[in-house]
Amino acid sequence: MRLRQKKIITAYTFLAIPLLFFIVVRFYPMVYSFWLSFTDWDLISPKKNFIGLLNYINIFKDEVFVKAIINTLKYVAFGVPAVIIVSLYLALVLNRIKKFQGFYRLLYVMPYITPLVAVSWVWKWMYQQPPIGFINNLLTILGLDSQPFLMSTSQALPSIVVTTVWVNLGYCVIIFLAGLQTIPQEYIEAAKIDGANRRQILWRITIPLLNPIIVFLAVTQSITFLRIFTQVYNMTDQGSGGPLNSTKPLVLYIYQKAFMSFDMGTAATATVILFGIIMIITLVQMIILNKNIEY
């Protein structure tokens, strides 16, 4: 056998192992849960009766499911722009600092590497009513009214979004910083010589050149927010996604249906629908945002 053929066979052999792993651990369960969405399995009995599209029809009649979809889209709509805009701003500011840049970067990354459950519980305590809640105490000192935060059906979801944005900032700041440092200084200097002011440099050079990173972060952060679970489970009363389902995202709905109500059919159906939503949002973002910019 020629050396080239040997190399090709070796390559495919090595690729086969992770491929096998991927098929068994990722692909097969995914297909299995697609199939489960067409059954009425209750997790305990061995009977899985095929019921066609009945789950899909019934699930949209469930008010809680519809609320969960709306909540999930709210998480993305509030969270992704917030995290990208704030982290871009922080990265631009950090990029101008010479001293202590490493220290500030560490400070911003720390929330991201702290265990999410610990973060959730500390924020839950901070959101408490006065005089226990730190945030409300601050508001009171500033002369403002105390807010119910997690105890209000209108404020609970934004409160959780704030916590999540705070966590994800570090990751996005680091990625943006890396991106900013790849912008060739010659472009900026040439623009300055041509008389461009700071705002023009930012909007005409820096941000367009950062476009691939913006797309990357928009897509990955959207997926993260669409799959939000840990914070909601820990920051709401008994992980119920309350009050009155105002914070319940799809993943929590799935968890409750599967492991509290033992309704695996409905849970699998919701999983398939969530998969569809993530797929659509990802594709839309990649098509709209992806512009090839070269100077």
Binding site: D42, P130, D237, G242
Partner: protein
């Protein structure tokens, strides 16, 4: 020839003795709780001493998600012969074909009704058959903080005995800061804790109603007794009397442990936790009555036999013996001593009526009810939502109560339609 014969007989004896010495092995699953695990180990030793041909393997799982772990191991085909489960899961486990009915010759109606409180036989019964037996049961009582009573000028040895007194005392015991925020609750208000049980089985009945029909198929709390007055009583404590609110100090247990709540309604399972808090001087009394009516909510974990055990008649026999042993008065005595859970046997329970800690709970067992839950988390959510609707959204209690009944009826209907 003679030697050959002798060898043959010897061989036969050895082989048959193997058959006799082969022990029947059964597996027992329960959730991990240190005192429970150690007590079961002790009981198993005693059981194996009484029945030398049976060996019991004891496996425990972390409490959180015990139900999920058990449920997911069943389709995987790994499972115990005897299982410890929350009585509220019995309907689900039975309709999934996982539990077998307890053999009627050993566990007859008379046996159950004489050896256990009446709510036990109701709680383990499904479609006319009994499915599990408890060692111990839990009930609710009123816990109060004696130091905080003194501070408020109340007699620390005299807790409230009626609902009217409860409200009065709670108002005196609530402390506010300058801005009017609660810094100390007079009474914890946590529907997601034991609050929903207090509403459903205690207040509904004390207000003259009944929560469900006796076959557990129809919701009656909106159609009987004082209807939505029950919800109004509960939510008024939050919105009008302002003695506490859901989520204060995160939850009722934390608030009481931190001595930021003067009274709380909680279960006997809280005793161990409270005993560990230094400086917490607490008392416990029977739940306050209303218009002379007393009621209580009891719950329990029980031991049932799975279909696994039926694969071998010897295993089944061993499982039956084990369950009977676990629910014997001797086991219950040891359980009370080590675990602090109340005996499920009424005669045994009477012996401890004057105990300063257990007395209130045990006396409560005499008039307690165990709700037939088809989906406890969903039914709990219904009550949590009803309270939230009134407190957070200002919806009238009549409407919230009716919606709760409709919501819960859907949960029940869903379950019962899937049974047939």
């Amino acid at each position: 020839m003679k030697r050959f014969f002798v060898m043959l007989v010897l061989l036969a004896v050895i082989l048959t003795s193997f058959a006799f010495a082969a022990k029947t092995k059964i597996t027992y699953w329960q959730y991990f709780y240190e005192t429970k695990k150690n007590t079961i180990d002790q009981l198993i030793k005693e059981f194996e001493r009484q029945y030398p041909d049976i060996e019991v393997e004891h496996v425990t799982f972390p409490y959180a998600n015990y139900n999920q772990k058990v449920a997911s191991s069943i389709p995987a085909g790994v499972g115990p012969d005897v299982i410890n489960l929350y009585y509220g899961w019995i309907p689900k486990y039975v309709t999934s074909g996982y539990l077998i009915p307890l053999p009627e010759d050993v566990f007859s109606k008379e046996y159950l009704q004489s050896q256990f409180f009446s709510f036990v036989s109701k709680g383990v019964e499904f479609n006319g058959k009994y499915y599990a037996l408890p060692i111990a049961v839990r009930s609710l009582a009123l816990f109060w903080n004696k130091k905080l009573f003194e501070k408020a000028g109340l007699d620390p040895e005299k807790p409230p005995t009626t609902l009217q007194e409860l409200v009065e005392y709670a108002k005196k015991l609530t402390v506010y800061d300058k801005k009017g925020n609660i810094v100390q609750e007079g009474l914890t208000m946590q529907p997601s804790g034991q609050g929903h049980h207090w509403i459903r089985e205690v207040l509904v009945r004390e207000f003259g109603g009944v929560p469900y029909t006796s076959d557990a198929r129809t919701v009656l709390y909106d159609k009987t007794g004082a209807g939505s007055d029950v919800l109004k009583f509960y939510t008024d404590l939050i919105t009008v009397d302002r003695v506490g609110y859901p989520g204060f100090m995160n939850d009722d247990v934390t608030a009481f442990k931190a001595q930021k709540a003067a009274m709380t309604i909680d279960g006997s399972f809280r005793i161990g936790t409270l005993n560990k808090i230094k400086g917490l001087d607490w008392g416990v009394a029977e739940l306050p009555s209303y218009l002379g009516v007393k009621s209580n909510f009891a719950s329990f974990w029980a031991n049932g036999i799975t279909t696994n055990a039926t694969k071998d008649p010897k295993k089944l026999e061993a499982a039956i013996k084990f369950i009977k042993f676990l629910s014997s008065p001797e086991s219950m005595k040891l359980w009370l001593k080590n675990v602090g859970e109340l005996p499920a046997n009424p005669e045994l329970a009477k012996q401890y009526f004057d105990d300063p800690v257990y007395g209130a709970f045990l006396r409560g067992l005499e008039y307690a009810h165990a709700t037939f839950f088809v989906d406890e988390s969903a039914q709990r959510q219904v009550m949590m939502d009803a309270v939230d609707k009134v407190v957070l959204k200002g919806i009238a209690p009549e409407i919230a109560w009716k919606e709760a009944a409709e919501e819960e009826q859907k949960v029940l209907d869903n379950f019962w339609s899937s049974v047939h």
